[in-house]
Symmetry: C2
Subunit: 415 residues, 2 copies
């Protein structure tokens, strides 16, 4: 049995113990893990310093080093995050549906853990604690494969998480880490269908594409967002400008930020200058075709590629359309099916947009930035699914569960 298989088997065994645990014990273990992390923040910082030193030697970009680097504050936030998850409602055991059949069979559809969850992510040590907490709370064992640049930090964090959960006499193997960080092992890990039930890639578009292409385990695709805002002919212009400003500039690097504007021709002469004024005051570069540039000369030329891009930066594409049909067609063609908004005072147009746009979250008169597990009131978020199966949109603890049917009879046989 090779290295990965033995990890898989250990996780599977641990998941069987975990699936039976009562909520109170799980919550005690989570709080103990958080406490152990806080108490040992010095040791975690030392491990992290090694990672950061190596990363600097290798010439890692400043922004990536910032995501890799831990501070006492960040470690405390990590621990507080675990405590917050412990306070959430336990999703396991919830009776989702009760069916009583004419023959007397009593059928209960009950939420159960998925089993073993694999997480593949970049050099962000906070994901280690965060992913563990959500998987553990929902009764799943987790195998973490973080970026090789964070290996010392991850080892240390996992070490203290384990110290915490051991206090509740739980098996270490509910959290496992792939310490062999070669690409070859990563690919093998994505194909361990016998031991891993579900794979979450957490990171940039490149990481996600690589997991989708190489995995044979079911994957939940998350994150990429070319989000559109459509300004309809009857839009309240102030509202439109405020929402576009918020969705574009409140945070650039997030998947629910707006990347593309679609403007009804009937309002373009008024709307585009107003939007341009606001966005250029924040150094956002607008890119549009000739009909857009005729309205405001400061707008840059847009290529076909611009309509499809997730900039994750201070850029936005603009497209003028003749009517709602064109808007819907354009958005369904170029979007990544994440989040799109219509700004309109016309209820019928809003309803058509909400129904016909094929995206996880569709907004009427609100910012796309609300696509988020916390903003939806889920109390947590493992990611935002851009696929249609199992889970779509912001995913809370429920997305980490499956269900089973428990059927009680008194001797029924089928005739």
């Amino acid at each position: 049995m090779d290295y990965l298989e033995s990890l898989g088997l250990r996780a599977k065994k641990a998941s069987e113990v975990l699936a039976k645990l009562d909520p109170a014990t799980k919550n005690l273990a989570l709080r103990a893990a958080a406490e152990a992390i806080k108490k040992n923040s010095k040791a975690i910082l030392e491990a992290n310093a090694k990672d950061v030193a190596r990363a600097k030697e290798r010439g890692m970009k400043e922004s990536l080093i910032d995501r890799l680097m831990l501070t006492t504050d960040r470690i405390n936030q990590m621990a507080d995050g675990i405590i917050q998850v412990s306070a959430l409602k336990d999703p396991v055991g919830e009776v989702l549906e009760i069916i009583t059949r004419p023959n007397g069979l009593h059928i209960e559809k009950v939420a159960v853990p998925v089993g073993v969850i694999g997480i593949i992510y970049e050099a962000r040590p906070n994901v280690t604690a965060d992913a563990f907490a959500l998987c553990f709370k929902s009764g799943n064992a987790v195998i973490l494969r973080g970026g090789s640049d964070a290996i010392d930090s991850n080892r240390a964090i996992v070490n203290y998480i384990r110290e915490g959960i051991q206090r509740e006499k739980l098996p270490d193997d509910v959290i496992l880490i792939v310490t062999d960080t070669s690409r070859e092992t990563a690919t093998k890990f994505m194909q361990m269908n016998e031991y891993v039930d579900l794979l979450f890639p957490r990171g940039g578009a490149g990481l996600i594409r690589s997991v989708v292409e190489n995995a044979t385990i079911p994957v939940i695709e998350t994150g990429v967002g070319n989000c559109h805002i459509y300004v309809d002919e009857t839009a309240d212009l102030d509202m439109a400008v405020n929402i576009i400003d918020n969705a574009k500039t409140q945070r650039y690097g997030v998947c629910n930020a707006a990347e593309s504007l679609v403007i009804h021709r009937g309002i373009a002469q008024k709307a585009i200058p107003a939007i341009y004024e606001r966005l250029s005051s924040k150094d956002v570069e607008m890119r549009g075709a000739e009909d857009v540039r005729e309205i405001v000369s400061g707008i840059k030329d847009a290529t076909e590629e611009d309509y499809a891009r997730e900039y994750l930066g201070p850029y936005i594409s603009v497209k003028i359309v003749d009517n709602l049909d064109h808007a819907i067609e354009h958005i369904n063609q170029y979007s990544t099916h994440h989040s799109e908004a219509i700004i309109t005072e016309d209820k019928d147009n809003a309803e058509r947009f909400l129904n016909e746009i094929d995206s996880a979250c569709v907004y009427w008169n609100a910012s796309t930035r609300f696509t988020d597990g916390y903003e939806f009131g889920f109390g947590s978020e493992i990611g935002i699914s851009t696929q249609k199966l199992h889970a779509r949109g912001p995913m809370g603890l429920q997305a980490l569960t499956s269900y089973k049917y428990q059927i009680t009879g008194n001797g029924q046989i089928r005739s």
Copy 2:
């Protein structure tokens, strides 16, 4: 654009029309399709006769020819099946959850069609009509890839389905058929992620394995059932014998038939002779290890392989265990996670079994044969899922839907 891509694109376009349809129009179209099938049963029979003649020439097995062959009665049943689906509740547009946020955002989680569904199946023309009806009712376009031996029958059935739906001015392309029945094209079909959202293999274990291995499109794995019945120490013996008889012999070739027995050592001396007597009276061969054969000499030797087999025939394996823990361990090791039952008068043991057995359907004192969409009251069934993601157990129309979040605001921005 090659043949398959053009099919995919046509289906995608049709699915956009279909997603917007009201329930009444869909139901009229379904009834018109059923009518057209009934009216043209002669032409369908003629097409089927060609398939049957070719199959006989090729020396197809009698049992497979029986599944391929249509009669006027079978065609009428096919049409009646479509009418029954038209009478089911439309799953699309159902509001699954409403969330109101403190900032005034109103969030509705609404059921939507998946989009384009691919069905890969064997030479069973009835699946053509059945799969179409379920996909259409749930707002999905469908691309059918049936066994090459049924190609003339399938063409004819699709032809008359289209004749029916054209009466409601709906696009033909809501139902498409892959007429190039080569294996190469089948494999390409399983990898059309851009156009097909979900793939259902319907058929035997070989077909399902091939689809799971070759597909890059998300697949719902269905069907294989090595179902266990565990006779606990306190079982009501008459009930146990009746349930085992029903689960084993009522129909042999189905995935929810019992294939494996597990018996508590404390009741084995009484239970095994009683079960043997009943099953051997129906020519079922029992296979067990030495401790089983010591109790009844007529029982055959079981190899390790027997515990894992889905016989789909008059055979059953028997295993004696020392306690409930061993029973659960044995079943979780060998089962295909489909359906398992415990026969016991002990409520605590029943609850442990229902909680700890990792299968889609777990029964207390009832036959595994009830794992079925109709028996669960779903009114339809596209298959029985043995995986944990998206759908588990019997799947009705709901399994053919996804959801989206529709969010209504009045200018909310994120702070």
